[in-house]
Symmetry: C2
Subunit: 301 residues, 2 copies
């Protein structure tokens, strides 16, 4: 059975968002980024080459790995030493990602269940392929007759990343030391004016994970996904200006939009996962069903 | 934060069920099993060595691959030629898995969305690391106060595989040419006496995928998972004798059993996925949440 044009576009999205795993990707040329012998990321060769200027912070590449110097033996020391390097690189280098400096601290650790070994500025994480975690919320309604519609946000045209594209009703990155549900409630309030009393009813349902590379670096990400059924009479409102508008759309329309370039790619993955979990995509009629699920949960060892 | 004993046992289950991906597994020594240049499985070296006795069916190992002879240029020819070899091996060899011959034909193809290139006896698939697909059903109830309980089966002590262990309310392998929902309805009827009118209300929700190796071969599997809310007054009944008993258990008890050796391993994974999707496991309190989700969806390229 030939795949439909829609299925092919979804497969292409999943491949693009997992391009770091593909044969011929930059992965083979990357150095492991290690702290105390534990891998916490992947460093592209051009970044590794820049880092050799800072031998008091980064040991020179050895055995396929770039390590933090052993003398940096605490969370605080590592974080401050790396931040000082990044502040310098921000001034005088061509690393475009650092122009998007956010003053947001992300935890760095081998796995989410491990204690953080340091924090790192969010905008710099792609230079080190450090895994980033976030929260995405599927906001939806169920009519009296049982029909499901989904609230989507259209991102502000002034956003640093993916301006003007469709997005989940709310989403945000997980800053160092901040809880997942706490982040969810905060983002719901700030981005969509969803009161805490409603946001707290969101249900955690899964994670969506992927790793892609582009000219800026390596993006290894896992999103904690929540479903939030919103009251029929409730309307999200533009909050902190990250969003320009909200739309309530029937599921068929959402599904159609998913395969277009109008969607922020990782948010499209979160919606795809919603469509699968809520049986709007069925395995007997969607031959790529299992490939879709696999593509939503790729993770680096 | 140290992981709880429960989390460690779940991680160990997921590692065991994905041991083919682990460093030091037999994967590096396996040959790719190819049909017309497309990989459809992994053949362990001892099996590859046996197959050299049948040069009219299997080309000798070359470039890390064992291929079907090009002269076998149709679905029918390939299926019959391989079946003849397997019938012979069944008589005179020490391949223990073939003692469990089932006369069940499984489709062989690179991906589920590809047209099948041949069929193969179910019991032989592990010799070729051919991917197997199946259906697992989470049967559960919701009380008037909203409390969720789950129906579990205890497998017959006479089952060929995993006798006497806990299992999903119904499950079964996907035979060549049979639909997924059709298989679900059939298994519900045969194994648990769930009438079609009820079984058809099951919702597809995801797949659970894993690849493990043991002394018999390589087991690459994807299970299509369905949730089925059963009426409170309904009780599954022993049908075709594959099950000895059914239990309705509160979720906390199910969660506790999940980490014991009393559960069929892949069914435990399906239940773990249910607990995550239904928010009985939450990311703020389960540090291994993301690792759990990743471990439920491992797939071979």
């Amino acid at each position: 059975m030939a795949n439909s044009a829609w299925s092919e576009k979804i497969l292409a999205l999943l491949r693009r968002m997992n391009n770091f795993y593909l044969p011929g990707s930059g992965r083979a040329a990357c150095y492991r980024f290690e702290i105390d012998g534990a891998q916490v990321g992947w460093i592209p060769p051009d970044v590794a080459s820049l880092l050799t200027r800072y031998p008091e912070v980064f040991s020179p590449p050895q055995g396929g790995a770039v390590s933090l110097c052993r003398s940096l033996d605490s969370y605080g020391k590592r974080s401050e030493a790396v931040d000082a390097v990044l502040q310098t690189l921000r001034q005088d280098s061509s690393l475009t990602c650092l122009r998007g400096w956010r003053d947001e601290k992300y935890s760095v650790m081998p796995k989410f269940s491990d204690p953080p070994l340091m924090w790192m500025e969010r905008a710099a994480t792609c230079l080190f392929g450090v895994k980033r975690y976030g929260v995405h919320i599927n906001g939806y309604t169920v009519s009296d007759s049982g029909e499901v519609s989904m609230w989507l946000a259209r991102r502000s045209p002034h956003k640093q990343t993916y301006p003007g594209l469709l997005d989940n009703v709310a989403a945000g990155g997980l800053a160092a030391g901040v809880g997942i549900k706490h982040t969810l409630v905060k983002e719901c309030q700030e981005e969509a004016c969803i009161p805490a009393a409603i946001a707290e009813k969101a249900h955690p349902v899964t994670t969506v994970s992927y790793t892609y590379e582009d000219e800026e670096g390596v993006f290894a990400e896992s999103q904690f996904v929540f479903d939030l059924e919103l009251p029929l009479e409730f309307k999200p409102k533009v909050g902190d200006g990250e969003v320009q508008d909200f739309y309530l759309l029937p599921i068929d329309k959402v599904k159609e939009l998913l395969s277009t370039d109008d969607f922020k790619p990782n948010s499209a993955m979160v919606v795809l996962d919603f469509l699968i979990r809520h049986s709007f995509i069925e395995p007997d009629t969607e031959p790529c069903y299992q490939e879709f699920v696999a593509g939503l949960h790729q993770t680096l060892e």
